[in-house]
Amino acid sequence: MSGAPRRIFTIVLILVLAGALAPARAADVKLTLWRLKTYIPPADKILDTTIQDCSKKIGAEVQIQTYTFDDMWTKYTAAIESKTLPDVAELDAVGPARLANLGRLSDVSDLVGTVVKELGELAPNAEGAVKFGGKFYAVPHYAIPLILFYRKDLVEKVGAQPPDTWEAINDISIKIKKAGLQDFPQGFPWNRTGDGYDPAMSLLWSYGAAWVDKSGKYVGMPKDKALQALKVVTPAYLADKTAALDYLSWSGSGNNEAFMAGKITFTPNGPSILFQEDSTKHPLRKDTAIKLMPRGPAGRNLALTFVMNWGVPVDGKQQKEARALVSCIMSKDKFTAYMTGSFQQAVPFFKNLINDDYWNNPDGKIIAETVKLGRPVGWPGPTTPAAAEVISSNVLTDMMTRVIVDKVTPEKAIEEADKRIKEIYERLPVK
């Protein structure tokens, strides 16, 4: 195309684009809401329906944007910098700490009060992620607990009991490998996803290796306890060879697939495996069992990293409507509908709901128990931006991979991790 027609074409195209990119704004209240795209699509659908019903009720139009666990912080980072946080933001376990520290979240203590009236007392372990300086900066929504999945048929075959400790998992894995049932039965991926850093925290805390005190201030990583913990999980990759190196490169779905393809016996995951097996009428469903994550010498201190909360950023110009929306979503009928349609993924923090009959079955009991025992990120202190960064910088799982992949001594890996944590706490001091 030569000169003139092309120029005209370009101008027309630009005009068309300009039209497409600048939608006309109608008069009624428009809200934006960001929510997590969970592993259970039917649950998402229920939530979306709830949100739309609620928006009609309060006379607003809601635009829902979704994110996955992987790209959540890409989106939020961009929004924080460009001051375009949504009106209602579903945040993870560390989101409220980070945003509240920046002064970008509204005080929602009154909202929490309203919800408590309808849904019952809020579990104390939920406060660490959302309550700072005595005020609530997000409304706790639900938790996706990490539970231990195992193949009960294989465990039985080697004559073992379902494992309660990390050592037991190692032993059973060795037996299964020896019996030729599976090559690499132990699917604990010390990777950059929640399947990695959640068990990592649970592991360290169960060995008493927390690096902060009750106020959240850094006190140093207890080296001997951390060493104990490391020495329990690294042999699977190194000496026993009951875990395949590839597991370290798994994305969030890797362990699900390996488990359902019958390649591994043990893996930490949210309840989604049960959902996936049920919905595909999977042959292994009858052999799939769950248990609480293992305990250590210091007890069972399980991390609650998949916690979803509703925040109302101060950026939004429609604070009143945003709060009304959250209030409606968290109302008894709507939340109960969501909970019971979530295939046991959405474990609530409010007393009436957690005591609901929905959880009164073998699997449900374990799942609910996990949440009750859960410790917030930053335990034994509250969730702080520093604690948040320790996870998002993958300090703990890097510690594991330094030993497993780079063949560094556990002592040195712990040393490095401690140094990194110290540096983070210096940069983001706890107030």
Binding site: R192, L245, S249, A261, S392, V405, R427
Partner: protein, 323 residues
């Protein structure tokens, strides 16, 4: 004045203007014409200039500034001098990242040059079906990189990937190969994906270049008894060395700061075995929320690129000073 050599850096940057014979018209016309020409010149490069200044130079300077600050997402930036650079320099992890970037780049580029040359040599003879072949072989370059990365990840899956399953069925291996778990194999895997994606660009460019070499050179060599190999080494290769240099340079710059393939295939894992500048910078910037540090990490790749550019320019014109 002589035209610059084909494919040379001079030709790249600018051919010296060929003086036009003065027209028969008056001097005044000539002068006005000159001014007109100048104005038109500026007008036509204005858009490019604007683009460069606003969207390349400014952000780049911004990047340098950011790298000298401690900028955490949400907080204002404050100046810290070279602290980020020093911290990275001392970081064992970053040294691994830098080394990986070199390995990834050298490995990929080396393979692409070799395959590109082989492809050009093989397709050089005008044979029926060549066009179709060339078109087909161009496909990897055309397909979205995201698709390529995901496909290779799927191909190399430990239990169900075609590679392991196929090798197993052929009896070559008994257990799955840890393509993405073994640190060395993981690097090999991302290099393989990069090479698969990039070799067509090399092959097609080299082929195009070779096809402008006059046939009589080859005929004369045949008459003198030179084999096809010798012809390739002594005639084809030297003739296209300019294009080889340019293509290699471009691809090196792109590969050194490649993001997609590594991010999607391994996220830099296992551990930091495949972490390269771009993926590490992304992790620092988005996950750790440290933009200052992220920029400092990226900046470390610049001296290499600058050196390469100078090197290539010198290589193509060893006698002349670099422009």
């Amino acid at each position: 004045m002589q035209r610059p050599a084909r494919g040379s850096a001079d030709e790249l940057i600018l051919a010296p203007p060929v003086a036009a014979a003065p027209r028969a018209r008056g001097l005044a016309w000539h002068r006005v014409n000159r001014v007109q020409e100048r104005l038109l010149g500026y007008a036509l490069i204005a858009p490019v200039a604007l683009l460069i200044v606003v969207l390349i130079a400014y952000p780049f300077l911004n990047a340098i500034w950011l790298s000298l600050t401690e900028k955490i997402v949400g907080y204002p930036a404050h100046f810290v001098g070279f602290k980020n650079y020093a911290a990275l320099w001392e970081s064992a992890r970053f040294r691994i990242v830098a080394w990986n970037s070199v390995v990834y780049t050298v490995g990929s580029i080396g393979a692409k040059v070799v395959i590109g040359l082989a492809m050009a040599a093989a397709l050089q003879k005008a044979v029926r079906g060549n066009q179709l072949l060339r078109g087909f072989l161009l496909l990897p370059w055309v397909i979205p990189t995201v698709v390529i990365a995901l496909t290779w990840r799927w191909l190399l899956d430990l239990y169900r990937g075609l590679v392991n399953v196929g090798l197993h069925d052929l009896g070559v291996i008994s257990a799955g190969i840890h393509w993405l778990g073994n640190p060395d194999l993981a690097m090999l895997s991302v290099i393989m994906a990069n090479v698969w994606r990039g070799f067509p660009f090399f092959g097609v460019s080299f082929l195009a270049a070779m096809q402008t070499v006059p046939q009589d050179l080859y005929d004369a060599a045949s008459v003198d008894g030179a084999s096809a190999w010798q012809q390739f080494w002594r005639i084809s290769l030297p003739s296209i060395k300019g294009v080889v240099a340019i293509v290699t340079l471009l691809s090196t710059i792109w590969t050194l700061n490649d993001f997609n393939i590594v991010y999607i295939m391994t996220r830099g894992g296992p551990g930091a075995a495949t972490h390269i500048f771009a993926t590490y910078s992304y992790e620092l910037g988005i996950q750790s929320q440290r933009w200052g540090m992220a920029m400092a990490a990226s900046m470390y790749s610049l001296p290499v690129i600058a050196f390469l550019i100078v090197f290539v320019v010198r290589y193509l014109h060893p006698e002349e000073p670099s422009s």
